[in-house]
Amino acid sequence: MPESAPGSVSWDDSLSLPQDSITPPPPAILTRLLRKVYGNKAAVDGLNLTVPSGCFFGFLGPNGAGKTTTIKMLMGLAPPTSGTMELLGLPMPEQAETIKANIGLVPDESLLFDHLTGLEFVEFVGRMYKLEREVARTRARELMTLFELDGHPRKLISEYSKGMRKRVAMAAALIHRPKLFLLDEPFEGVDAVGARLMKDILLDQVRRGATIFLTSHVLEVVERLCTRVAIISSGSLVMEADMAELRGASETLEDAFVRVVGAERTSESLDWL
């Protein structure tokens, strides 16, 4: 995070969770036998996941594997069919309000408000996290400048490009200095400069002790940023490993991904292609 501009508000007022200073922090995310069924299909099937606190965690999987459903369950957007979840050491949904106060979310696009400008949306999110109006407004302005979204102050989110929408969602996720980030494809459609900026900010957040739970299809990004990865396929966890282990096994993340997901298909069977 860059230094605050003169006249900017302090960012050192993050919400604190009750925590013993001697014992190690609980896992940022802990799920046990988490299951979500749609119709007769299990989108997530008995997911046991442990995301250590302060970790940059990559959650990978092919399309329809259950990544977004998992994030939706973690945020309380979709109630699980069965299983338990703990976020930041607190049970979800029992302690939902406290948990949500400490989470920054970059969701799929449906949760943005199309008829607000980017600045209005980020300020709105800040106020939903109980920041004073002036604080929320000042931080929103700073974030819009940081993400280079301040050039078109009257532009509505509905008029934003895909990359701009992701950037505004990321700005909104940062405004209350959360302890845990749930990021659903945050780099999708973002240009190289924007992606670099977002990566730097996220790495800064990990350095200050935040945990990042990231889903992405861009394996190179995950490989470079994440310290630990898990791969989900057809709703079940098929691999969980430290990136250091993978690097030690001289296997790229792409190789490991294709191996465990079993998706080595080629276009050779289509003669016309």
Binding site: K36, V37, Y38, G39, N40, K41, M75, G76, L77, A78, P79, T81, A96, E97, T98, I99, K100, A101, I103, L105, P107, S110, L111, L112, F113, D114, H115, L116, T117, E120, F124, V125, R127, M128, Y129, K130, E132, R133, L156, S158, E159
Partner: protein
């Protein structure tokens, strides 16, 4: 708590403020004028109530009418919004659930938003309150009796909305629920035309109960409260609160996505329906055939379209039926002898909302595709028109079958006449529809079974367009009446069809040109979404 509630209301205000100044002045002016007319009428009524309640000499009348008046207010608050297929402004919980805001706060905000479903009643009750305060024969505190009555209404309104939302979120039940509600809308007309049947009178008498909230509230308002009355009224309010809170909580646990999920079945060979879907592609060359097939598949799967299609041959039939039976005693009456044509034309008007006026608004992602694939926009519009015409034909056939089942007298000549009249009307509707679809597009969620599908500005224009488009039909009937000749009737219809085809051709040119010139605006409009509070 206040910080968050203020933030939500602020976001909604900004949403509205951002929406109107961007080229929506006409609809804003239209909305303001219509609202001023409607609420002016309500305010006049409220003034009348205030004058009645302020006069000590008319206390006997007030005593007689107050319980019934409060019952009407209760029914208006709870039922009219549903009958009008509108649930007012409400929180879009999906967008707010990710923030650390407690359910009880959201409930509080939702209760406040319920005022939006009964603003008219609030105005009338305000008139009554002012009247009571001015009446020296009634103690000043008596108007406080309205407070628990209003609270009861708001809490029940929340519960009702939640129940309705869950019904609408369920597969299969959704259309049936809306269909049932819409049929309920026909009941008042049936009542006024046919009267209340004996069994209904007996049922109402059997449920006579002196402790209803409106009766209790009337007791307090008339300055005659005792502990029992106050206790019962408070009990109603508490019960309504608990019921509303319970239903609101159930709304949080409801997973619409899971409810709508389909059960995956193994692939079966193409059935009859699948073969019907493929029929246009067998008769028409691609890309026309492909787009017609896609339109038929899409529309028949869109809940909003299915509902309107069903209403055409059920609701339409039901609301015109009492008039037909009444005038049926005089078999020569114009309505009785042309009943089938009346109902089919009414079905066409209903179908217009989903078939003609906003053809790009339903399938928004497909609209983008049409600009990307090498298909002329004229072919896209023609394909959409063919699909609409197919559904019009099916609708008329369904109306005819329903009439036959109800043993309405339908001759072959009347059936042909209905098809002919509908054909002419359809050509005009489609021609104007192409223009409105390209000039007044509106983003519509095809999964929502209610709310208007066409743009507000265009709805105002429809008030003029419908009568003008009916002129050729009226002229045909006048020709038959004047010359007492079927030949004259069909001659005028034939001329109208030629004229309609010419208008269609000219409108097509203009629509295609608008598609090209307004491409960006059209796509931008169709990609818009909602704010935190949806109306």
């Amino acid at each position: 708590m206040l910080l968050q509630l203020r933030a939500i209301l602020w976001a909604q205000w900004r949403t509205l403020r951002n929406f109107y100044p961007r080229g929506h002045y006409t609809s804003l002016v239209f909305t303001v004028v219509m609202s001023a007319l409607w609420y002016g009428m309500v305010a006049t009524g409220a003034t009348g109530v205030g004058i009645l309640f302020s006069s000590p000499g008319r206390l006997a009348i007030v005593e007689r009418v107050l319980p019934g008046g409060l019952l009407l207010a209760f029914l208006y608050w709870q039922i009219v919004p549903i009958v009008l297929v509108s649930t007012g402004a409400s929180l879009d919980l999906k967008r707010l659930i990710v923030y650390p805001i407690s359910h009880s706060r959201l409930f509080g905000l939702e209760v406040l938003l319920r005022f939006s479903t009964g603003v008219e009643m609030l105005i009338v009750l305000t008139g009554a309150t002012i009247g009571l305060l001015l009446n020296p024969a009634i103690p000043w505190w008596s108007c406080l009796g309205f407070v628990p009555f209003i609270a009861t209404n708001l809490f029940l309104s929340v519960a009702l909305r939640q129940i309705l939302s869950r019904w609408l979120g369920k597969r299969r039940i959704r259309e049936l629920a809306i269909f049932g509600l819409v049929l309920v809308a026909a009941l008042p007309q049936l009542y006024f035309l046919a009267g209340l049947p004996d069994w209904a009178r007996q049922l109402i008498n059997r449920f006579h109960f002196p402790w209803w909230p409106w009766t209790m509230a009337a007791q307090v308002v008339l300055g005659r409260p005792d502990l029992l009355v106050i206790g019962v009224l408070a009990g109603w309010t508490a019960a309504a609160f608990l019921f509303g809170r319970w239903q609101f909580e159930r709304g949080f646990k409801f997973d619409a996505e899971a409810e709508r999920a389909t059960v995956t079945k193994p692939l079966k060979p193409a059935g009859l329906l699948e073969r019907l879907y493929r029929l246009p592609a067998m008769l028409l060359p691609d890309p026309l055939g492909a787009i017609v097939e896609k339109e038929i598949r899409f529309l028949s799967r869109a809940p909003r379209f299915r509902l309107v299609f069903m209403m055409g041959f059920s609701f339409g039939l039901l609301i015109w039926l009492p008039i037909a039976y009444r005038s049926g005693s005089d078999s020569s009456s114009a309505f009785a002898s042309n009943y089938l044509t009346f109902v089919t034309l009414y079905a066409l008007l209903l179908l217009g909302e989903v078939s003609f006026w906003n053809t790009f608004g339903f399938d928004r992602s497909a609209s983008q595709l049409y600009y990307l694939v090498p298909v002329p926009m004229a072919a896209v519009l023609v394909a959409k028109n063919i699909a609409a015409a197919i559904f019009v034909f099916l609708e008329i056939s369904a109306v005819a079958v329903a009439c036959t089942l109800l043993r309405m007298p339908i001759s072959a000549s009347k059936l042909v006449e209905s098809y002919a009249v509908s054909l002419v009307m359809t050509v005009f509707l489609i021609a104007i529809g192409n223009l409105s679809s390209t000039h007044f597009p509106r983003p519509v969620n095809p999964a929502h079974s209610w709310r208007s599908a066409s743009a507000g500005r265009f709805q105002a224009m429809l008030l003029m367009i419908y009568p003008i488009m009916s002129i050729p039909i009226v002229l045909a009937y006048l020709a038959r009446y004047a010359f007492d000749s079927q030949l004259a009737f069909y001659g005028v219809l034939g001329f109208s069809l030629t004229l309609g085809s010419l208008i269609y051709w000219v409108a097509m040119e203009s629509s295609v040109s608008a598609c090209v010139q307004r491409k960006e605006k059209l796509l931008a409009t169709l990609s818009q979404g909602d704010g935190p509070v949806s109306a």
